[in-house]
């Protein structure tokens, strides 16, 4: 399946791409389109103003994706808190690591193409997911 989002990838889109590949469509292909009106008909758009898989109410797109696909895994929701605060920074969640992720992602998109940013951030999100998974299981920070 093909998925489209806006170029100039930041944390929300990078994390959504990771989530789509991991939980929704393992063979997902991503294209970058600046204007929602230019999205081809057979392509699912996300994180674009005006499309369904986007910000809604207080939610960032990562949270919308979790809701639309009934993903209730608490580890994914812990990751959602990180993405939400790094993206929106409205203090809705307590995610102190969010600021660091925001800086890292913004810096990365200054020096890499969107395709590369997606490629480089996938292991980062996989690792962070694993960290949060162990943290939730242990009830404290893992080693």
């Amino acid at each position: 399946m093909k998925w489209a989002t806006r170029p100039g990838v930041h944390i929300d889109r990078a994390a959504c791409a990771w989530l789509i590949r991991r939980c929704i469509d393992p063979h997902a292909q991503f294209v970058f389109v600046a204007d929602p009106a230019e999205v081809p008909p057979d392509v699912t758009a996300f994180d674009m103003p005006g499309v369904d898989l986007s910000h809604h109410g207080d939610d960032c797109t990562f949270e919308t994706l979790l809701r639309r696909h009934d993903l209730t895994d608490p580890v994914l929701w812990r990751l959602a808190a990180l993405v939400h605060e790094a993206d929106i920074d409205d203090g809705h969640y307590d995610a102190p690591e969010a600021h660091g992720f925001d800086v890292a992602l913004r810096g990365l998109s200054m020096v890499e193409t969107d395709d590369r940013v997606l490629e480089l951030t996938q292991p980062l999100f996989t690792g962070t997911y694993e960290f949060f998974r162990r943290e939730l299981m242990l009830g404290r920070e893992p080693a």
């Binding site: 806006r6 103003p49 005006g50 910000h55 809604h56 109410g57 207080d58 409205d90 600021h99």
Partner: protein, 177 residues
């Protein structure tokens, strides 16, 4: 150079929302305040244009439309440099008031017992970070607020007047933008 004397690009959001329900209205208002927009007139706000601010206002526009309102996003240049300076000065004055509040809180907290001082320090650092995110035209009050919070970290007020530590902090603050 002539090119430098031209006003820069701004991203403008015009929006209109139904009076009721009031919840989405106040949510939009809170978001705009967090973003540090300049209010040009009723239902018209502006930010200096870059990829981030454009995206931020794009989301606000979507939020307005979702709440049965109407919104439009524009990229525009102020007609004169003077008009742009006025806009920048108004935004800087808004931030200056916020920085002053941080500075005052920091000075008061300096007299608190250690544990409470540390708690105040964490809160004020976070508050500073949030203000700086919406600070497009840093006023002089910023350096004073940063210095007051760092005094709080050190636990002692620094002597007044220029001294190396203060200068270094100010330079760091300037370089970060």
């Amino acid at each position: 150079m002539v090119a430098q004397a031209r006003p820069g690009e701004w991203v403008l959001l015009n929006y209109r929302m139904p009076r009721e329900p009031s919840t989405p209205r106040s949510a939009v208002w809170r978001t705009l305040r967090r973003l540090g927009v300049a209010q040009l007139s009723d239902g018209l706000v502006a930010l200096p244009a870059d990829a981030r601010t454009r995206e931020q206002l794009d989301w606000v526009a979507a939020e307005v439309r979702e709440a049965a309102g109407t919104a439009g996003l524009w990229v525009a240049r102020p007609g004169t440099l003077g008009q742009e300076r006025e806009l920048a000065a108004a935004m800087a004055a808004d931030r200056a008031a916020e920085y002053r509040a941080v500075q005052e809180h920091a000075q008061v907290a300096l007299g608190l017992p250690d544990v409470e001082r540390q708690r105040a320090l964490r809160r004020l650092r976070e508050e500073l970070r949030r203000i700086r995110r919406r600070d497009f035209f840093p006023p002089a009050e910023r350096d004073a607020a940063v210095a007051a919070v760092e005094d709080l970290a050190a636990g002692t007020p620094s002597p007044t007047g220029a001294q190396p530590a203060t200068d270094a902090r100010a330079a760091t603050a300037r370089g970060e933008r």
